[in-house]
């Protein structure tokens, strides 16, 4: 596995080695506040999160009420567009599109965040064990991780999603989270290995601090910087991968579920000729939010990179 996939690991390991150090965090923060890229990313992300949290309160209509179902005629290709009370028109079931997009923000954020959090959690366990113990534990766990890295990410998500007899929102979340696991595991292991040989761990060891305390109080907290950077970037890809799974028929089949990926794949697959807006709105929403997370993540990475320190 030491072949080319080393190259996939290298940037991960580099990121892992980069953000070790103390005052770096504060310095990074001040640098981010001066960067327009970081501010743009932060504003987009912040708005999205606020929107998602308060969606049920803001939504002007019930997103599940099929109010205008009588006016929809798919056979003749009629889905009513914008009109008083329905600023963005309705979907194929006659439900208010604006309300569905707002509630969709909530579900999209949920899918993205849960998939990322699960990926981070499993990755931290694997990477933490490998980094804390080293030796054969490290070898075995990393070989497993390398194999996961050697499967193209969408194929990995597909193979996990295919394990479940009935697709649902949860199978999507689990499938997408697995893509992140090997990345987070390597990341954490990398920065923990750097710290094993660092002075503050040596100091703690010679003061007689127990091994568990060293790992949890000294090594782990100091290794989280790169994990946070990667998690921010993963939020963007997780939303995109969830949309791809929906498009391939591995998404939640419940017609009531309002989630941008599901709305987009349905709109793009079925209604592009009838009402392309049903694809455009969720597509724009996904692109803007994915861009926001990416901007934020990239500027975080740059801010934490010691090379940029002055």
């Amino acid at each position: 596995m030491n072949t080319l996939l080393n190259k996939k690991k290298e940037p991960i390991d580099k990121l892992a080695a980069a953000a070790v150090g103390k005052s770096l965090g504060r310095e990074a923060l001040s640098r981010m506040l001066r960067s327009p890229v970081a501010i743009t990313g932060g504003v987009i992300t912040g708005l999205f999160v606020l929107l998602a949290i308060f969606a049920p309160l803001i939504a002007p209509k019930d997103p599940f009420a099929r109010t205008l179902q009588g006016e929809v005629n798919l056979g003749r290709g009629i889905i009513p567009g914008a009109q008083p009370g329905f600023p963005l028109g309705v979907d194929d079931f006659g439900r208010d599109e604006l309300s569905r997009l707002l509630v969709g923000a909530q579900n999209t954020l949920l899918v993205g965040v849960l998939a990322t959090v699960i990926g981070v959690a499993i990755g931290i366990v694997i990477g933490g064990l490998a980094g804390a113990f080293g030796g054969w534990v490290d070898t075995v766990l990393m070989r497993l991780v390398d194999v996961m890295l050697s499967v193209p990410s969408l194929l990995l998500a597909i193979s996990v999603a295919a394990l479940f007899a009935k697709p649902s929102q949860w199978t999507v979340i689990i499938a997408v989270s697995m893509v992140g696991v090997p990345i987070f595991a390597r990341l954490l292991r990398g920065s923990m290995l750097v710290q094993r040989n660092s002075d503050h761990v040596l100091a703690a060891t010679s003061l007689g601090v127990k091994r568990g305390a060293i790992v949890f109080r000294h090594m782990l907290p100091n290794s989280l910087g790169p994990v946070i950077v990667q998690a921010t970037l993963t939020l963007a890809t997780a939303i995109l991968e969830a949309a791809a799974l929906s498009f391939l028929g591995l998404g939640d089949p419940d017609p009531n579920r309002a989630e941008w990926g599901i709305m987009l794949s349905k709109g793009a697959k079925q209604f592009l000729d009838v009402r392309p807006e049903l694809a455009y709105y969720p597509a724009i929403a996904i692109i803007v939010v994915a861009l926001g997370f990416t901007l934020l993540g990239e500027s975080l990475r740059e801010a934490l990179d010691p090379k940029n320190r002055r």
Partner: protein, 355 residues
């Protein structure tokens, strides 16, 4: 020992014979290193197969599953034997390419892959060529005019490029570009065209039989899906090229080259570009993964009948024999392509070989 001058990265080994041997040894070493990975991968796929809904036999039989059929297939597959025997049987069958019959087409999965593979290779290579031909110059220009308006626009485009869902982009191209450009938006071949199929590589077949209208038709069918598939590798290659060229520009040997009076042109071409492209080669290998995943989406959108189309159809129909073979095949291709890239890296950059 004192102060040793670092060897310039493009310095050649003096004797050609030694170099050939070096490359060969390097190649063999890399091949051997892939074996443990492939073994672990096979164990994972075996475990995956065992955990399919309803067990492997039910999954492989699909709708046709009855208790008797499941029991008899369990026996044929050796699923009533100890797990370790089962694994080795699976390994044996996988090595001989025996993955059973597709539930959709009732044909052996391996022969399906053989028929559909050329389409995906054609599409993937076209997309990669586009990504490299546009991405490297764009990244280089971006680096040269660092922080200028051109640079900012290029960076913004690369960021948007990875944020657009690939399948949505495909549909948009079909909807907005196909008609104005007069390009076909579905399939690999125009309906009435009587093209001779020899290898299933549409362009190659056309060239071999001198059916130039078929070659032109195949190229026209490739343009839109190849562009849709190329976006993500293109964005990544652009950014890597930019970053790497910027890195190289700060190197000491560039300052040396400049101060010894070489013209800007020579410095840029021979020193900056040559060294700056090394990481890009690696990226090309890694992006094969994105291509394999993207091909599933792109081929589905454009009804481009390749492996991705086969996989997408397999998912919709729950065709597990097909899924199993295609997923294993995809991982295998990814590992092998990356190994090839690694070897080529060793040929381009002599430092890698001696390490």
């Amino acid at each position: 020992m004192g102060w040793v001058l670092p060897r310039p990265p493009h310095a050649r080994t003096s004797r050609a014979g030694t170099k050939g041997l070096q490359v060969l040894r390097f190649l063999v070493r890399r091949l051997l290193q892939a074996i443990p990975t492939l073994l672990v991968l096979s164990i994972l796929i075996f475990a995956w197969l065992r955990s399919l809904p309803g067990g492997p036999a039910a999954a492989l039989l699909g709708d046709k599953a009855t208790p008797e059929k499941i029991a008899s297939l369990n026996h044929t597959l050796g699923l009533d034997q100890p797990i370790i025997f089962q694994y080795f049987r699976f390994l044996g069958r996988a090595l001989t390419g025996d993955f059973g019959n597709s539930l959709v087409s009732s044909q052996p999965v391996m022969s399906e892959i053989g028929t559909f593979l050329p389409a995906t290779i054609e599409l993937g290579i076209s997309a990669m060529i586009l990504a490299v031909l546009i991405g490297i110059p764009a990244g280089y220009i971006s680096a040269r005019f660092r922080n200028g308006p051109v640079d900012n626009v290029i960076i913004l485009l690369t960021l948007v490029g990875v944020a657009v869902p690939v399948f949505f982009l495909g549909y948009m191209m079909q909807d907005l570009l196909a008609a104005p450009l007069g390009l076909p938006s579905q399939g690999r071949q125009a309906a009435g065209l009587d093209a001779t199929a020899i290898t299933n590589f549409a362009i190659l077949d056309g060239v071999m039989t001198s059916e130039w209208d078929a070659v032109w038709d195949a190229i026209r069918h490739l343009i839109l899906p190849a562009f849709a598939l190329a976006t993500i590798p293109l964005a990544v290659i652009t950014r890597i090229t930019r970053a790497s060229v910027l890195d190289v520009m700060n190197e000491d040997f560039i300052r040396t080259a400049n101060s010894k009076g070489l013209t800007q042109q020579v410095v840029r071409r021979r020193h900056v570009l040559r060294n700056g492209l090394l990481p890009v080669v690696t990226t090309i290998g890694l992006q094969t993964g994105a291509l394999l995943g993207g091909a599933v989406l792109t081929e589905r959108v454009f009804n481009f009948r390749g492996l991705g189309f086969l996989l997408a159809e397999g998912i919709e129909r729950r065709d597990y024999p097909r899924l199993q073979a295609l997923l294993l095949f995809g991982a295998l291709v990814y590992v092998l392509v990356n190994m090839l890239v690694d070897v080529s890296y060793g040929i381009i950059d002599p430092r890698v070989r001696v390490r």
